[in-house]
Symmetry: C2
Subunit: 186 residues, 2 copies
């Protein structure tokens, strides 16, 4: 369900507004702003997140649930505090979503062994299955996107994405992402 992607919704451009070639009649001297890249990124990301959205809607879950599920699946036994740091949201925001996931039997909380204050997070069997499902959807889209690109493109894209990230956040993200590819800078 859920017509998340705008597919059919995108109309032809207004007649009054035909392309007309590089409308480089701007004021100041905006030397070639990368509108195309910016827009491609926008639409690509939207469709990328749209696949999971459709599945999640069936469970009455949203994108917030997906993010939590994803990072718990990826980091079984993660502490709530660390998950908060990764997601960059507040305890309250996470709390609501997390509770729903626990109630739905998607995520399980276990007391820490060494530190009994912790409620370490794990996906249940159901949760794992759902996480894998969603990831496979995204995998398919990624694979489709890589078709026909020159050798080494995947590596290039990985580096590009990493370098899009704030430099001072990269070390932490690299730890988190632990790619099987070498993304060390230089």
């Amino acid at each position: 369900m859920a017509d998340v992607n705008f597919k059919s919704a995108l109309p032809p451009l207004s007649r009054e507004n035909k392309p007309g070639q590089p409308d480089s009649g701007e004021a100041g001297g905006d030397d070639a702003l990368p509108y195309d890249l910016i827009e491609l990124l926008f639409f690509a990301y939207r469709d990328f997140t749209g696949d999971p959205d459709e599945v999640l809607a069936q469970y009455e879950f949203g994108r917030a649930h997906h993010r939590v599920l994803h990072f718990v699946e990826r980091n079984p036994g993660i502490m709530v505090t660390d998950l908060l740091g990764i997601l960059g949201i507040t305890k309250q925001s996470l709390g609501r979503v997390l509770k729903q996931l626990v109630d739905a039997g998607i995520i399980e909380q276990r007391e820490g062994n060494h530190d009994r204050r912790q409620r370490l997070l794990y996906t249940t069997e159901t949760g794992h299955a759902l996480a894998v499902d969603l990831t496979r959807l995204q995998q398919k889209r990624l694979e489709r996107a890589l078709i026909g690109l020159p050798d080494g493109s995947e590596e290039t894209i990985r580096r590009f994405l990493l370098q899009m990230i704030d430099p001072d956040a990269r070390p932490d993200i690299l730890k988190l992402v632990r790619s099987s590819f070498d993304l060390k800078e230089r």
Copy 2:
């Protein structure tokens, strides 16, 4: 202002949960799910949108305003209906945001020449300046991300992003994006 990026917020991974190398001990036979790409995309997009967010916050605007501003700047004289189609949101959602932008003197509405029902959208001088500012921020990040990548990488990334988009939406998006690069499939 606005601590949009989580920079300092990302904590070290939980001690209980050190990398430990490809934890390929999964159940079914999930052959190498592309977690790293998925996560890099997530963080990259977050930082990418974070730059404009900070500036917009000063105007009490959000990301919704940015999207509207962007597409109006890019398609001066666009009809409301077409903008709705591009953004993939409802008239009501657009209405609120658009009104705020008009009230703030960022966007201007002019009656259509041929069709007086239309309220064609244009950025004002102020709006244009803001749009350019925001785009330059994103340009800088993109340029930084392309540093050190092999020749032709930008082209590769463009194609990658295009192919991430639903195939049936691509023709419309290509018209919209009108890249100065050749993105025709094949």
